[in-house]
Amino acid sequence: MARSATVSQRTKIKRTAPRGFLRRVFKRYKPHLRLEARGDLLVHLSCLLFIRRLAEESRTNAYENKCSIINKDHVVDAAKVILKKSRG
């Protein structure tokens, strides 16, 4: 956890999972299913990994276009790739 361990920026990274929010989202999409106790932690883990990959990809896109700001287009292209990857 090299990068996240050193929060040199002023933003505070909360490491707690929004467990209630995850349960509610799951219920909203699949009300007939039940989620187990530890399942939502793993859902949080998968979201973290997804976000990480998405951020890396969009950063790469921005570098390639030689922009110093991440644009919407970079994110869109990155999302296409990563969503396809994490389709399961």
Partner: protein, 454 residues
Amino acid sequence: MADSPSPDSEPTTRTLLRRVLDTADVRSPRRRRSARNAIQRSVFETTSSRSLGSQTKTSVRRRSHGARSIGRLAHVQASAYLEKDTPRTLLKNILLTAPESSIMMPNPVVKLVPLSQVVQSYRRESSQGSLELQLPELDPPTTLGPGLPTSSRKKQRLRLSVFQQEVNQGLPLSQELPVNADSSSFTRSLNLTFTTPLQPQSVRRPGLARRPPTRRAVDVGALLQDLQDNSVASAPPVSRTDYATTSSPISELQPPLPEVTEAAGSEEAVRVKELEGSSEDEDTSGEPASPELATSTPELLQAKQSHEFLELPPPPGVGVLPSEPLEPVPARLPSRPRAAGPRPYRDPYRTGLSHYVKLFSFHAKMPMEKKAVEMVERCLDKYFQNLCNDLEVFAAHAGRKTVKPEDLELLLRRQGLVTDEVSMHVLVEQHLPMEYRQLLIPCAFSGNSVFPAH
């Protein structure tokens, strides 16, 4: 302590001095230094005559403390009283004027009880003049307690002085005041300090007097007059936008503040408490002040409004206060609609997603456009939908209606994150904090038990 006249178990400075006064024979007046030595010698004699062995340490400590305090006070009083008087009168003056500064709870001194009644009746007046005079008395008790932790912040001191007011007025003390053990004994000893007469002006340490009291009294007078006169709200946002940096915390704190104040009884306490809230806003801008304020507002409700206003910690700009209370204070009483009327459903959803969006911006390490942020939210939403669909399929494949961690593991495996080399436990260890790790990874404990049980 068989032969101690007073029934207390541990001798304090005050009782020591009292014993000296009772037993010591009158000596001829001497010079200042030798008078002090005489006092110390007499104290030493009495203590040594009484105490042997185990008690010497405590008496030594107290003797030194007594000597220190005697020395300090004698230095002050010596010039005035030495011409006529003996150490006896010196000690009497010391007893009269010395603040009760020991942590232990001594028995209330008999001599000061009649004074206490006088002072309490004096305090019960709510007039301006009494307020001004009470101020210098309030300062030494707050500064002279050894029980008070030296790193106590201004808010703690505010609450303690508020507590003192309650004690004086006989209000119920069971209000939610976070008084810890140190300060409770401190305030109990402070009960006695209130009974000290108005003399301690000379005893008060000038270095610790932080606020000029006279200026505050004027503000209170103007404030009270304005409170009583004005009932119409002038434009508060005008004054608040002047302090642009704290506008957002103020606006956040406004909804809880009016709700809390509606529970209160008095209007004026409400106004001043909200003033407190806003001025404390100024102090704590940028900090997470809302939990502090939430705990401090119930205490503030109980106290006298003028006292709490006077006991404010010196804000960054004292000039802020005179201008501020006049305008926004009467304005906050009529409740204003703050949130938008119709609340969209997606709001809690977006606020929940914002947690992950912040993580995105953290990992990206580059500034992002607003549109990019919204795009990330939409991607996350899409990801959630895909996730739920997949989990449903996996659970149905296993003939279950509950999604279990094995389904999640299968999902990660299909995503390519979990391979034969990289197991899921590795990912859990890398990305989750320890509390979740303990829940997810089965660990063997002593007694042949595994937690969590598989």
